[in-house]
Symmetry: C2
Subunit: 514 residues, 2 copies
C-alpha cells in the first residue's frame, strides 16, 4: 500500500497533487465492517449435506451449459468433465476440488490506500445499487438515467461515510452510447471518488478496457500483482453460462481481478419454488462458475454470489425483502462458508415504487439478513428502488444512513470493566438517574449510534419545521451533499492520461445504442 | 378447552349464541408462531456469566426499593433478604432460586379456545401497541385518543390474521374518566374480539375489577384454575418497585394470572449507557420482580420483560430500532432462557412521527431482532408510532401485515423430498424456466409469503391507480377492515352480565381524570 502510494506520487505532477490534497475537505469513510458477532445459521448440518449432495448430483447428471464458448468446453474436457455439445457434466467432487484454489479472502485496492477493502472472512463491504436504467427523486420524479445522474451517485457514494465501495453501474447512463458508456462510468469512479470500484462486464472487450484504465490509474505492474476491481458476473439461471459474461470473467481472471460469480434468480421462475431447491441450484451454479474461474487462472479471486428473490405468483412480479429471500440468503451464506469463499448477497432490496414504508420494511429485512447471514460483499447496499429498475436519490442517502446501524451491530457487546458499568449502577442507585453520572459523561459520545438523517426531534419542533417525512429529509440531505462535494485529489498526469485514453478509444468506434 | 367451551355454552342463551355464530363471517387468525429456527445468540458464555455475576452483586450490595409496601418488605424479610427501610438487599443466589417456581411456559386462554396461546419455549405471541394517549390517521392527523378509537383498534386487531392477542391499552381513551376507563377497555376486548387480552394495572383495585370481569366471561372456577390475562407490570427503573404496580402484580399473582415483569428503560437515563451495564440492571430488576411474584404465589405465571431503548444524547429524545436496542434484546433473550422463563421484548418500535420510511426501518429492525432473539410475547407488535405517544391506524395494518413475514421466517427451511425439488431441476434443465413445471404447479400456492397490503403491481398499473405510497394503501385497508367488521358471537347472558357489572361499578364512584 505504501509502495503503491509512493509510486503514484512519483508519477508526475506530485506538487500539484499535494497542493490539491491540502485544500480538500476531509471526507470520513468508516472502515469496512469486521464482525464481532456470530453468523445466524438457519440450516442444520443434515440440511446442508442434503443440499450439497444434491448440487453434486445436478452437476453430474444434469450439467450446465457453456454457450458459444469452445475454449471453455476445452478447459472443462481437459479437467475431466463430460462435455456433450455445450452441456458440461461435472463428475461428483470435481467442481468443489477446483474451487479450492480460490482465495478465502482478498484485498481490493483503492487509489486511496486508506480505502482498501478486505473481502472475505468476517468482513462486510458495502457497495451501492447497480444497474437501474431509471432514476427518481422527489423533485423530478422517475426518468431515464443520464451520465449526470451517474456522476451524482458517484459523488453521493464518495460522501457516504458507511459506504466502503464506489460500486459499478450506479445507474445506466442512457444518454451515452452503450459501447462507450463503460469508459465514462469508470472515469467517473476513478476521478470523482477514491473508493474501490467495479469493472465493465457487458463485453469482454469492455472488461479489457477496464483493465487498461486501471493500469493507467494504478500502474501496470501494480494491477498484475494486485486486485483493483471486483466485477459482477451473473449466471443465466438456470445453469447457463453465456459467452459475454464468461468472456468478461476470463479477462478479469487472467488479470488477477476479482469476479462475483452470481446466480441471478427469481425463485419460481429461474429456480424451484422451494428454498431448499433454490439453494441446490445456486450451489450447483456457483460451483461450476467458480471452478471455471480457477480453470482459467488458479488462485483468481472470486466471490460466491447469490442474488435471489421470489416471485409474486398472482402478478408474476419479482418481490424483495421476503422471508423466503432471507432464508435463501442465510442458507447460501452457510454453503459459501463451507467452501471457504467470500460471499455476496443482500442489499437494500425492495419492490416499492417510492422510498416509503414498504421500501424501508423490505430493505431493512434484507440488510439485517445480510449482516447476520455473513455477507462479505453487499452490492445494492443503498439507492435500490422498484425492483432494481430505479436508482433513487433519496433512498441512496436513506439506506446509506442505515448502513451505520449495521456497523454498530457488528461491533458486538463489549464486557470490559468500563462496559460492565457496575460503578455507575452503584453511584446512581434505586430511583436515581444516569444522565449526569460519571460513567455516562465519560462514554455518551460513542455509546449510541446516531443517524445523520432521521428525525429525533420533539413533536412540536418537527411540526414547526414542516412536518417532514423521511423522503423530504432525504431530499434535503441529497442537496446538501451534492452542494458540498469536493473532488478528491488525483495526480493531474494520471487524470490527463485517463481522459486521453477515453477520448481516443471513443473516437475509434461508431456509436451503438444496443 | 372443550370443557370451557361447553361450560360457556351451558350458561344461558345458548340458542341465541348459536344463531349468532351461524351468521358470523369467519375471521382467519394464524396460530401463534412456533419457531423452527435457532435463536441468534450475541453474547458469549463468558459475557453471560459476567453479567449474571454482576446482577447478583447489584442485588446483594446495592439492592432494590419496594416503595410504600410493608407487606412486600415482610415477605422479603421472611425469605432471607436484608431489609433496611424500603431497600431490599437480596443475598447472592436467592432471587434466582425463588424464580425456579415460575413456569417456563403457560397457556393464556381466550374465550374462543381456538385462539388460546402458549407463551414460552419456542413460541412467539404478537399483541398490539399499548399505552399511547394519541392516535393518528392520514385523514384526521394526530389527536387525543377516544373510546371510539379504542374500539376501532380492538376491531382491527380482531381482523388481523397475524395478531394472536388483542392486547390491553391499545390507546388511552382519554374521553372516559381515568378511574372508569379500564372497565370500558376490558368490555371492548371481551365483546368486540375473541382473542386473549390484558388486564388493568393502574390500581390494584382495577386489577381486581379485571379479575371479576374475567370471572363473568370465563366462569369463576375457570379463572382460578387457568390463566386468562397477561398484564404488564413495569418496574420503575432503576431498581424501584412502586406500590401501584406491585399491588396489581399481587392481585394477579394471587389469582394465578400472568404478569410481564418488565424494566422500562431508556438507556443512558434509567440505565448505564453501555449494553452490558444495561443488561446487568435489567437482569437484577427482573430477578427481583419475578422472585417477588413467586413469594406472593409460587408458580404464578410470569414473563421476563425487557423494554429497552436508548437516548439521543443530542436531544434527550428516546430512540427506537437502534443497534444498541437490538443488542440488548438479543442479550436479554439469552439471560431469560438461562432462567427458563418466557421472554417479552421487541415490537414495531419507532421514533418517527409518521408511518414513513423511518418508521418502517426502525420497526423492521426491532421485529427481526424479536424473531431471532427468542421473544415469546411481543407487545407493541403493530400500531406503535412516535415513541409510543401515538397509536397509528395506518401503521397498525402495515405492521400487522409484516408479522406475516415473521411467521414464514419462523417456519425454517424444509428439506423433504418435495422441498429438495430435484425432479424440477431435472425437468427444467439449463436455460429453461420453472413457471409451468409440475413442481411449481403443485407448490406455488403455499411457497411464498404474500402481503395483503404492499404494492407488487407493474409500474404503469400502480401509476394509473394513483401512485399510492404505503400510507395511502394502509388507509384504504383500515377503512375496508372497519367497514367489513362483524362482532364475534358471545353468549347474550354473559354479554349482559358484563354490561351490568360495568354500569353498576361505574355508577358507584365519582369521575376522576387523574
Amino acid at each position: 500500500m505504501a509502495e503503491a502510494a509512493a509510486r503514484r506520487r512519483g508519477r508526475g505532477g506530485g506538487g500539484a497533487a499535494r497542493r490539491a490534497e491540502r485544500t480538500a475537505i476531509r471526507i470520513e469513510t468508516a472502515k469496512y465492517i469486521e464482525r464481532n458477532i456470530p453468523n445466524f445459521e438457519i440450516l442444520t448440518e443434515e440440511a446442508l449435506e442434503i443440499i450439497e449432495t444434491n448440487a453434486e448430483t445436478v452437476l453430474e447428471e444434469i450439467g450446465v451449459n457453456f454457450v458459444n464458448n469452445p475454449g471453455a468446453l476445452a478447459l472443462w474436457r481437459d479437467a475431466g468433465a463430460d462435455v456433450e455439445g455445450e452441456r458440461v457434466r461435472i463428475p461428483r467432487g470435481l467442481a468443489r476440488k477446483l474451487c479450492e484454489t480460490a482465495p478465502s479472502s482478498y484485498v481490493q485496492h483503492a487509489r486511496n490506500p486508506d480505502k482498501n477493502v478486505v473481502i472475505g472472512g468476517k468482513t462486510l463491504v458495502c457497495a451501492p445499487v447497480y444497474g437501474p436504467p431509471f432514476v427518481r427523486d422527489a423533485a423530478g420524479g422517475r426518468r431515464y438515467a443520464t451520465m449526470e445522474d451517474f456522476r451524482n451517485f458517484v459523488k453521493l457514494g464518495y460522501m457516504s461515510k458507511y459506504l466502503h465501495h464506489s460500486g459499478g453501474t450506479v445507474c445506466e447512463p442512457t444518454d451515452v452510447p452503450v459501447n462507450k458508456r463503460h469508459m465514462d462510468m469508470l472515469l467517473a469512479h476513478m476521478t470523482l471518488s477514491d473508493k474501490p470500484f467495479m469493472g465493465s462486464v457487458t463485453e469482454p472487450s469492455r472488461a479489457q478496457d477496464s483493465v487498461e484504465m486501471c493500469e493507467i490509474l494504478f500502474g501496470k505492474d501494480f494491477v498484475q500483482d494486485n486486485t483493483v476491481m471486483t466485477s459482477l458476473i451473473n449466471i443465466n439461471s438456470p445453469m447457463t453460462f453465456d459467452d459475454v459474461m464468461m468472456g468478461a470473467l476470463e479477462v478479469y481472471a487472467r488479470n488477477n481481478q476479482a469476479c462475483i460469480v452470481s446466480p441471478f434468480i427469481v425463485g419460481g421462475a429461474m429456480a424451484p419454488v422451494s428454498v431448499a431447491g433454490t439453494l441446490t441450484q445456486v450451489l450447483a451454479e456457483v460451483l461450476a462458475g467458480i471452478a471455471y474461474s480457477q480453470l482459467v487462472r488458479p488462485g483468481a479471486p472470486v466471490i460466491f454470489g447469490a442474488f435471489v428473490t421470489s416471485i409474486d405468483m398472482n402478478s408474476g412480479a419479482p418481490t424483495f425483502g421476503t422471508p423466503e429471500a432471507s432464508q435463501i440468503l442465510y442458507g447460501a451464506g452457510q454453503l459459501a462458508r463451507r467452501l471457504n469463499l467470500p460471499f455476496r448477497s443482500g442489499g437494500g432490496l425492495c419492490g416499492s415504487k417510492l422510498p416509503d414504508a414498504q421500501a424501508a420494511y423490505e430493505t431493512a429485512h434484507t440488510l439485517n439478513a445480510a449482516l447476520l447471514g455473513g455477507v462479505n460483499f453487499m452490492l445494492h447496499a443503498c439507492g435500490w428502488l422498484e425492483g432494481g429498475l430505479v436508482s433513487s436519490y433519496e433512498k441512496f442517502v436513506m439506506d446509506a444512513d442505515q448502513l451505520g446501524v449495521l456497523h454498530k451491530m457488528a461491533e458486538g457487546v463489549p464486557v470490559d470493566v468500563n462496559a460492565q458499568a457496575l460503578d455507575a449502577i452503584a453511584e446512581v442507585g434505586p430511583g436515581g438517574h444516569y444522565l449526569g453520572c460519571a460513567h455516562t459523561q465519560a462514554n455518551f459520545k460513542t455509546a449510541f449510534w446516531r443517524t445523520e438523517l432521521l428525525d429525533y426531534k420533539p413533536f412540536e419542533t418537527w411540526e414547526e419545521e414542516g412536518a417532514r417525512d423521511t423522503q423530504a429529509l432525504a431530499s434535503a440531505r441529497v442537496a446538501h451533499l451534492l452542494n458540498s462535494y469536493q473532488q478528491p485529489a488525483l495526480d493531474p498526469g494520471i487524470a490527463q492520461a485517463l481522459q486521453e485514453y477515453v477520448e481516443r478509444k471513443k473516437a475509434s468506434m461508431p456509436d451503438a445504442f444496443m
